[in-house]
Symmetry: C2
Subunit: 415 residues, 2 copies
């Protein structure tokens, strides 16, 4: 497949990708867009020019602050729609000869502001990397019995705060809160001293279900539109003091950052792979067939204010013990209903090796082994004015499909 | 104050109340409403007839599926608006003489279907009754050290699932899920055997804040529009197996039920009272002035399918250790943003005496002391086809302001 839109061979946004996002254009209009290379394509404009007439959409769903209406059409529409877009961007297509439309609908990426791609009604965070759960268990509980008894039976998850999910590039203030230092009998109050990132991937659902309805592992992926990169910022000291017995709360809900482009499951299909073997056997409602993991390379870098990016982690989404179909089947087995635009994050994705750990907590082993950056400074956790950048891409020697990045800078605590 | 709309002296919806809700009328229109006695008043119709012209609203906000737009106007508008409504319903008012409008705008309560009063973007559940937290700690942890170390320092809370909050009258299917019986080495799967209610009260916010912004205890109530009764259905066996380390998840998100009428903070003002003394002293951001608790009587009844209501609990919202202002100040101290329509529930409200405990878990002490109902049957937890009804009202010898009820029937597990 060769597109008439030129791009670098290392671009995440090859003709094989065709992701979806929402952008503010230079004329301040907010529209749904796709992207090839560094070219952002205004879908609302293409709609107006009649390029989508064959889909008989009732209105211009792309003149919207979120992709929710579009993705709610379901895969019956959105899969052929994406394939049609792909054809439209090939050499010798109708669009390739329509210079007037190209002039109006095509925008260089640096001239637009990417927004949250969907309105997010509900957000759940899982805890599905066995390496991450084991590392945390070793540090905070029993090194000999690091995994809790339920972990291999349940894709453990908890509800997060949807309101504080922001798009890549949004700075986050260091949270203040209570924590209890080890050498103190009483808690203290102040800016978090152990601010961390968590390298995650999140999926977005495209359907509404009724309360009481379940989704099987076989049907789960029909309800998943696509994925984004997810940085689940975490304040470890606040978390440690607050999380027993009801889970993380203020340690997490001060902000989570996502990448702006939703990469569809269909674009990721060539990169499917088997997940880790699950022992003991899981309950029938969690059993599944086929390759449910994705060979999606993940990287995290840390950039000090006046420095360069330091690669601090190389991980892979394929390490996930529990896959997305199992997560969604578990989430709904009690009849919990899902909504269009819901976000379901994986939990921190760590691998076996020390350089694949997906959080500072693990990389510095609770702050006991600081990282040394290229500028000679050390990090136990994230400093003020540090920027954390996560990238994700799939590559198989023939094609490349990537997510771009999710970037976030930590500003000092407010007062 | 005497209304031209007649009502029983024991009505929760006296002229002193003037609550807000959303109803489907007999012509299938969905409108925002208020209520006096058993008369539901269509605010959208009153708007059309010019009764609200003085407020210079930009459009008919009452033709809506939720009160979100109305409450987002803030107390500067909504407080005088409610007072104006109250005047409108008094004897000799303009409306009292406008029989045509009364005919069109007034509906008998049994002829309308009450809906969720707001769209709920985010839902948080606190754990703010010291009696409840102590009871749970005694049962599941150490009877001598029932309260966890953080409890008197932090209004402990966690995020719940907004999508599965339903209005009173909506039946709920018993959830299925994993649990681990005490005598088993491995978990089992099936319908919950320990289905419970939790008697709670929830407040609803009327504002959007920016990420990074905090709300002080002094300002908190400006951001609280009003309250509803809240039944936080809970599956204790599922909860016990899943909740360590990230908190309750499938044990809660199969459904929560709320009463349809939002009673405003202003209607509850005459019933303010002091809360329990807080020891040790709390951090400055949690300190407050004035009477922040409310003398709101709460009752729970259990009705078997072919039986009568059995009163199983009499509690009071005034028992709360942490008040709403502290909850909201805590929730935002890290910069977490709030949204219009967010729901913040209190956690189970228990008193000191055994008949004031707000859950079956406490009332039957983990199932060890079953309740005997009037039909001679016993209950450790909630059976299929049982209906749980919660009521709440304030009374001071002169006036009565109440919430009506939140009712929910448990249907058998699906398949």
């Amino acid at each position: 497949m060769k597109s008439f839109i030129t791009y670098d061979s290392q671009s995440d946004f090859s003709i094989h990708n065709i992701p979806f996002g929402v952008a503010i254009l230079q004329d301040d209009s907010v529209v749904c867009v796709t992207r090839v290379g560094d070219t952002v394509i205004d879908l609302a404009y293409l709609y107006e020019k009649g390029y989508f007439d064959q889909f008989e959409l009732e209105e211009n769903l792309f003149e919207a602050f979120g992709l929710n209406e579009f993705i709610s059409l379901g895969k019956e529409i959105t899969v052929p729609f994406r394939e049609y877009l792909q054809q439209l961007f090939l050499e010798d297509s109708e669009l390739s000869k329509d210079e007037e439309t190209q002039t109006e609908a095509f925008h260089f990426i640096d001239t637009v502001f990417m927004q949250l791609p969907v309105h997010i009604p509900n957000y759940t965070d899982f805890y599905s990397s066995i390496e991450h759960a084991t590392n945390v268990g070793k540090m905070f509980r029993d090194p000999e019995n690091a995994l809790l008894p339920n972990w291999r039976h349940i894709p453990v998850g908890y509800h997060g705060r949807a309101s504080s999910i922001v798009v890549s590039g949004t700075p986050i203030h260091r949270p203040s809160g209570q924590s209890k230092p080890k050498d103190s009998d009483v808690p203290v109050f102040g800016p978090s001293q152990r601010l961390d990132f968590e390298l995650e991937v999140a999926f977005i659902t495209n359907a509404y279900t009724e309360l009481g309805e379940t989704i099987s592992t076989a049907d789960a992926e029909d309800n998943i539109f696509g994925l984004v990169l997810f940085n689940d910022w975490s304040a470890r000291d606040i978390q440690q003091w607050e999380y027993v017995p009801l889970g993380p709360f203020l340690a997490k809900n001060f902000g989570s950052s996502i990448s702006p482009w939703i990469v569809t499951l269909e674009a990721l299909a060539p990169f499917r792979t088997a997940g880790p073997k699950q022992e003991p056997e899981v309950f029938p409602y969690l059993q599944f067939e086929g390759n449910k993991n994705i060979d999606l390379k993940l990287q995290t870098t840390l950039k000090p204010e006046s420095g360069v990016e330091n690669v601090i982690c190389n991980s892979n989404f394929k390490y996930m013990y529990w896959n997305m179909s199992q997560q969604l089947a578990h989430h709904t087995i009690n009849g919990c209903n899902i909504e269009v635009g819901d976000m379901y994050a994986s939990g921190t994705i760590s691998g076996h090796t020390e350089d694949s750990f997906g959080s500072m907590l693990e990389l510095t082993w609770g702050g006991t082994k600081p990282l040394t950056l290229s500028d000679g400074t050390e990090r136990k956790f994230i400093n003020d004015n540090d920027t954390v950048i996560m990238r994700g891409w799939c590559e198989n020697g023939e094609i490349r499909v990537g997510f771009g990045e999710v970037e976030g800078k930590i500003l000092p605590a407010k007062a």
